[in-house]
Symmetry: D2
Subunit: 371 residues, 4 copies
């Protein structure tokens, strides 16, 4: 039997050479479902993270036609969901766009409805185009417009549709399916009626919980995700403009607001968080890196990002990823207009478990040399 | 020496008659700074609270002229603050409007500035009339308009003024001075320069922290009061209108939103909280009572409240109080317009200490007979 | 009508002299339940707290006989509780021992039982002498020995007794009755059966929740007071001895442990907290002062405390108080034995409301000159 | 190119047959790092978790000799750590004993010291045999005895040794290395001096923080792991005995205590938790299953567990695992002595992220049929 042996000639690291006696010993251990730590210690205790994901930009100019074509190819009934998913070359085995995050582009035509279901994985939607889309989450119906951000938390019944008088709608789905699978904790259930009754005023959760510095008196919310299921674009963009009047912004991220659960000021869900950031006209941020996996969606404008020394150009509706511990910096290509990046990440996981760490790029004025 | 003796002929209550032997014993105890519990037990353990405060309505029609006249009578320099305070007949000894809450009407003329100070007592302002008022809290300057709600938390430097081009301004002050005095924890300090430097963009705290479901990325706020120092009227009223689309409201309070610290969704300060409630056209709420002291300010409309069986009429800018455990219900006098009540209370104290309790009026369809 | 006027000739303080015009104005305000703030501002905004309580030591040598004599004078049935309470000369109006804290010495003879009741006030017991005492709190029976510390939180049914085979028992009661009355939130109820059924193993709450670094799996406790109703003396003293091996202690308090709710590591109840501190042989602490009211019970040893410059000697079972913002330091009179002070306080209130403040005595090596 | 296609003939599930047109479409998507969700949806959204781990029992009788033999084969200097790790046949790729948990048996001889290091992975030790072992964590030295449970949290410097006068020592290591690697967040650092200075009294953290219902006054601890680095066996076993007097125990787990951070009553670390449970003489628990991965260590006694219908016998010092969502029940083989199981798990991760779920085995009186 062949054994691994990862040696390093550094004090405090494993550095044991194979001998016939040791190899026999390893064989012996193997028979009892055991091994010698020193043969793998350096592999499983790396000096710093090496992500399996690679940086990718998914251009909407490439994908939009393909997404629309799926309407002709499959029905929502047969497909369950009519979605083209983003497959990171380093994470094809788990169907992830980056790290443990799944993402896809879903399309629905006017009058179409997808059946209701629920699962332990959590989901978000970020609306890209079209009129008349809606989603129903645990009986709460929400209307959806471009750049709206919508939650479908772990365990909630949900279904989507487009009103008969609407137009073809496309949105980005984001889920933690790969992560929940890795944690061996995913459950799936189809709604017994395949659809939900709507039991509340349309958009009630946003109207009730989405008021600045005000909470509905006497209401309690103890679930561990945000009761504000939909975050609309207009107040989000307005918040960025107001905040920009009061701050120089982050050297790494410009003017950035985090979507939060208004009950806790913490992340919108336990496993995924989201933010919207504004790069002001001509802004070129400095480089930094942090643990966690990040999926950006260009909500407005155009520019480029430099990720681990490589340039990735983007424009509105493009999606790109930054893997864990990858250096990255962003550039707004316009000298007159701002650019806005929506970002979905697993930063709530990293923070909840004490695994978040970040580092500024110290050399070269904070900018990576382009490879 | 004369001794109290509060007897009740109820099982489990003290019921010991005075005898010469006992009276001598009480004298003896008294010499050692001691007493017999059974003589006072029934007094200090009442069956339910009996407030020392009485219900009062302070009509703006009565007070406005008097407040304005103070401008001619005293300067801010000599008065420290030019304020007419509301004195509950049952609480004159502690200068309280109700319970342990102080309230006053402050007036300033264009170009006037009051000196900066700080204290352990917390304060709020609720703006009544005039243009050009501003307040500075720990270096953050805020512009003030009618029905805006502003915080001056425990320990923050603060000062007020009216711009030279403004008009005479009147606002309500609300403080927990009587409570902090009772707790023997009040400290007072005059600012060494008598005024503060403004170190931030005007209204920055509201622009930064007052966005629905959005928090400024990377900012931390660990102080135990809200960083959103000013809550403006327009979004507050809009929140009530939106919420009214989604709820039948509380039977006791109509449509009510609580002002909160956006970082905790809890009260804006540790010792005082505030809410704004809308009585819809023609609404007549049911009666209930709860512990805590409540000071209402009529932000909009007219109507009346029935407090412990007595009717109190009110209109815009009037102020009235509801003492602890007093039955109360509210009536909007208009069949076409809503009425809005701002309410300042010590409910955060009651909740933080486990002393909050409430009860619905069970008889007569939930309405008090008028005495 | 006579009006107060508290003037100070300090910038930022009120300093308005009475004039006939102003006095007439004050009369006018008075008719509308209002007053001029500047007449009372300096009174209600003091530079620092001035406690109404005075330091007192209650010597057990003085009180023990009187307490025992009450057995002959009244029955528990007639007295409700057979208790001699400690009356601070500055707080006789509210029956407090210090600040808003009530304290008393309760005595029961073998075979006696007091009727069950509950109230919004919270209570503690600290056992002084005797064998066979027990208390029942919400159906949990606890046996009581000297220096045990027991809780009867807000709203819990409770009753006490001494087993027929026991001896006369005396313990200190401590309650927040004056505070809860001041907050106008006290409710009182006699148990419908005058006694409770015991529904659990004796001392189950301490056995279940009182284990170091271990919690009962699957149990939840959401009430806002400690589930560990009894804190026994032996492990408390042992904790002090162990801690003394690891720390130099506080310069002001020696080696001190705080009794906590094991579910939160916070105070045992929302309105009162307690601690046990050890003064090592010969220890003389430095002076400091803090807000809040403090009632000490000498659990072991003898010594003295200097409070606001006055010396108060104490020995085992004596009780003494330190008012809010009073300077105090403690001295163990023995060069060979430790002395232990149990302390009951309202520090949880001060902390929960942001009113706690402390200051070291800076001069004279940290020791007060004795007046 | 070959494409996956996981079809299910169930309403709400994907069920699209391959056609030449679709296969060409899939090829096209693949060129743009994309895929059709419906081809993999049923795979990545399973009806319930299917663990990759298999149940295993590692018998100490098998492994002890091999562990001791490693002393002759490698030095701590060359090996870094002299550890035999437990390799689950389903998780050999990530060196895990179960799920994302690593475990190993470490041996040190008297006088040996391992070099100090730190990493983002968290570790525990559970002491198996020998005298004189110690560990140093961030400068705090702890002595180690059999069945003591010790923490080495994320980011703390740590090193181990055995006193020269001791005997050969063996303990179980448990780490979340596979998980932290999967999260791409592992960092590793060798101590610059290869060893730490000890800056505190021996065992100070346990003496300071390990007292029932008592916290060290004035100390604050804000790190997100327990300050009580060592949990000794004697008080743990005593806690089980006391708790057994007050409860019938859990039908699934007997009498169980969870090791907790005394500051939060939550798990000892953010990514791993631990418990100790007692199976009373003759106890046979009922079966249940839950998400999360579990590694049991037999601290006392002998018996067997039935895991997914298969019987696994165990005795003192054996280690066995229960994978996520596997049915399991435990049996104490002795009619006279209790058996104690220490359990290390990732339940804190499951709970922090909302992924914990459990289910009782409903049939057959709660007992699994043995396959």
């Amino acid at each position: 039997m062949k054994h691994e042996n990862h040696r390093e000639d550094v004090a405090g690291r494993a550095n044991v050479e194979d001998t016939p006696e040791l190899l026999a010993y390893y064989d012996d251990l193997n028979r009892f479902s055991a091994g010698a730590l020193w043969t793998v210690a350096n592999k499983i205790e790396p000096w710093e993270p090496q992500s399996q994901s690679v940086p990718v930009v998914w251009r909407y100019a490439d994908l939009r036609d393909k997404v629309l074509r799926s309407v002709d190819l499959v029905t929502p009934e047969k497909a369950g969901r009519r979605v083209i998913y983003l497959r990171n070359p380093g994470r094809a085995d788990v169907a992830a766009a980056v790290g443990w995050l799944y993402a896809g582009l879903q399309v629905m035509h006017p009058g179409e409805v997808a059946s209701a279901h629920r699962h332990s994985a959590s989901a978000i939607r970020f609306i890209m185009e079209g009129a008349g889309a809606y989603t129903v989450v645990d009986g709460h119906k929400m209307t959806l417009g471009a750049n709206d951000f919508v939650l479908t938390p772990n365990g909630t019944w949900h279904e989507h549709g487009v009103a008969a008088e609407g137009s073809p709608c496309i949105w980005q789905d984001g889920l933690d399916i790969p992560f929940v699978n890795a944690m061996e904790a995913n459950f799936y259930e189809v709604h017994p009626d395949l659809s939900q009754a709507v039991g509340y005023a349309v958009d009630d959760m946003t109207k009730t919980w989405g008021n600045p510095g005000l909470t509905p008196y006497g209401e309690t919310w103890t679930k561990r995700y945000s009761p504000m299921f939909k975050y609309e674009w207009a107040p989000t963009y307005e918040a960025l403009l107001k905040r920009a009047q009061c701050t120089d912004g982050s050297p790494f991220d410009g003017v950035m607001m985090e979507y939060v659960n208004p009950v806790t000021n913490g992340p919108v869900m336990q496993t995924m968080g989201a933010s919207m950031q504004m790069l002001r006209p001509g802004e070129h941020t400095k480089a930094h890196r942090h643990t966690g996996s990040y999926l950006y969606h260009v909500a407005k404008g155009r520019g480029h990002s430099i990720i681990n020394g490589k340039r990735f150009d983007w424009q509105e509706r493009d999606i790109f990823c930054v893997p864990s511990w990858a250096w990255h910096e962003h550039v707004n290509a316009s000298a007159s207009d701002d650019a806005c990046l929506f970002c979905l990440s697993d930063i709530p996981v990293m923070r909840a478990l004490g695994l978040y760490r970040e580092q500024a790029f110290g050399e070269n004025g904070g900018h990576q040399p382009i490879l």
